[in-house]
């Protein structure tokens, strides 16, 4: 589709007729004329495009290169000085402010309203104590008068005849 030898179709394996059709169509599309007034419209678009901002020349700057360099260096030094000074000022203030490291919190004010304990006291839960294995000794023993009427027990023995340990054991059991 190109008149250049390297773009020529001849010599390739594809079917010649199909390739000629492709060539014709693509070349036709590629050779369509541009619409009327295209250049004028492009010129207008360029004219109405926002112009790039231009940096104003420094009035004091002269044509000598060394002067410009000197002034640029001075301006750069001034900017560095201002920035560094500002930074140092902020840094020194922050150092002063860091003296109080403990912050005293105010006591919480008692506010009216809200929930109250209503006088209830908390009793801690206690663990079960050790279990007593030996029976406790009674503090007072009933004295049985010797002359008192003897009534035989179920086993035919009077209480006096029974050993005291048995009596105590029964008392402990009944308790």
């Amino acid at each position: 589709m190109n008149t250049n030898s390297h773009n020529s179709v001849v010599g390739y394996g594809a079917s010649h007729q199909e390739l000629r059709q492709t060539e014709e169509s693509l070349r036709l599309i590629a050779s369509l004329p541009a619409p009327e007034g295209l250049e004028r419209r492009v010129h207008e678009a360029l004219r109405s495009a926002p112009q790039r901002g231009r940096v104003l020349a420094w009035p004091a700057a002269s044509a000598h290169g060394w002067m410009q360099d000197w002034m640029r260096s001075a301006a750069a030094a001034a900017i560095v000085f201002v920035v560094a000074g500002g930074g140092w000022g902020v840094y020194s203030r922050v150092q002063q402010g860091q003296r109080a490291k403990v912050i005293a919190m105010p006591a919480p004010a008692v506010t009216s309203g809200g929930f109250s304990s209503a006088g209830a006291m908390r009793t801690p839960q206690t663990l079960n104590g050790p279990v007593l294995t030996h029976p406790e000794q009674p503090k007072t023993q009933k004295k049985i008068p010797a002359h008192a009427g003897v009534t035989p027990g179920a086993n035919g023995k009077t209480p006096m005849q029974a050993p005291p340990a048995q009596v105590l054991g029964r008392a402990a059991a009944s308790r």
């Binding site: 492709t22 541009a34 360029l46």
Partner: protein, 204 residues
């Protein structure tokens, strides 16, 4: 006396500064005018070629014209580097090519503008009857539909090779590939096209 001297030197300095502004402004203005003239010359020389490149991909006159305008707006933004460009024609074609591909990628959701009526409208009459023109448009639309089915790399080379003014070296420069890649892609594209057209004909 001393004060007067100081006043004199100050006024001289201001005057010198003012002169400097005026001089630099004049130089700036002249430079600006030269840039504008160079850009206008580029528009007059290459707008048509760029339009054809854009139209070969977009197939829509309005979109192609927009692409050309966007190309020159980009050039306007980089007009400082205009003198450094070795081949301005290839450089411009590369810019418009990238714009066009980007637009086509973004406009994939839009309906295709490859309808036969649109093609018949833009094709040259060449003394053909209305029927003959319609048949020719139909034929070209079929071929172009097959071109669209090609893989992007092969399609791009094939479309650019249709421009007689572009050599394979320049096509390689536009696409940012080597010349041997251009040749191999072109070979593949032609084989694929032959197959597609054969298949399309067998279906008819």
């Amino acid at each position: 006396m001393c004060l007067r001297l100081v006043c004199m030197s100050t006024s001289q300095a201001i005057y010198a500064g003012w002169m400097e502004i005026t001089h630099s402004a004049v130089v700036d203005q002249a430079h600006h005018r030269a840039e504008e003239a160079a850009l206008a010359a580029l528009v007059d020389q290459y707008a048509g070629a760029l339009y054809r490149v854009a139209f070969s991909v977009l197939r829509n006159p309005a979109d192609a014209e927009d692409a050309v305008q966007e190309t020159f707006l980009r050039v306007l933004r980089h007009r400082d580097t205009l003198n450094e460009v070795r081949d301005q024609r290839v450089w411009l074609i590369r810019i418009v090519w990238n714009i066009v591909l980007d637009r086509k990628r973004r406009a994939k959701t839009r309906p295709e503008t490859d309808d036969v009526a649109e093609l018949a409208r833009v094709l040259p009459a060449n003394g053909l009857s209305a029927e003959a023109r319609a048949a020719a448009a139909q034929h070209h639309a079929r071929v172009l539909a097959c071109v669209e089915q090609l893989p992007p790399k092969e399609r791009e080379v094939l479309q650019l090779s249709a421009f007689e003014e572009l050599s394979s070296v320049e096509i390689a420069e536009v696409l940012g590939i080597t010349e041997s890649s251009v040749r191999s892609r072109l070979f593949r594209a032609r084989n694929l096209m032959a197959g597609l057209l054969n298949h399309e004909r067998s279906l008819r």
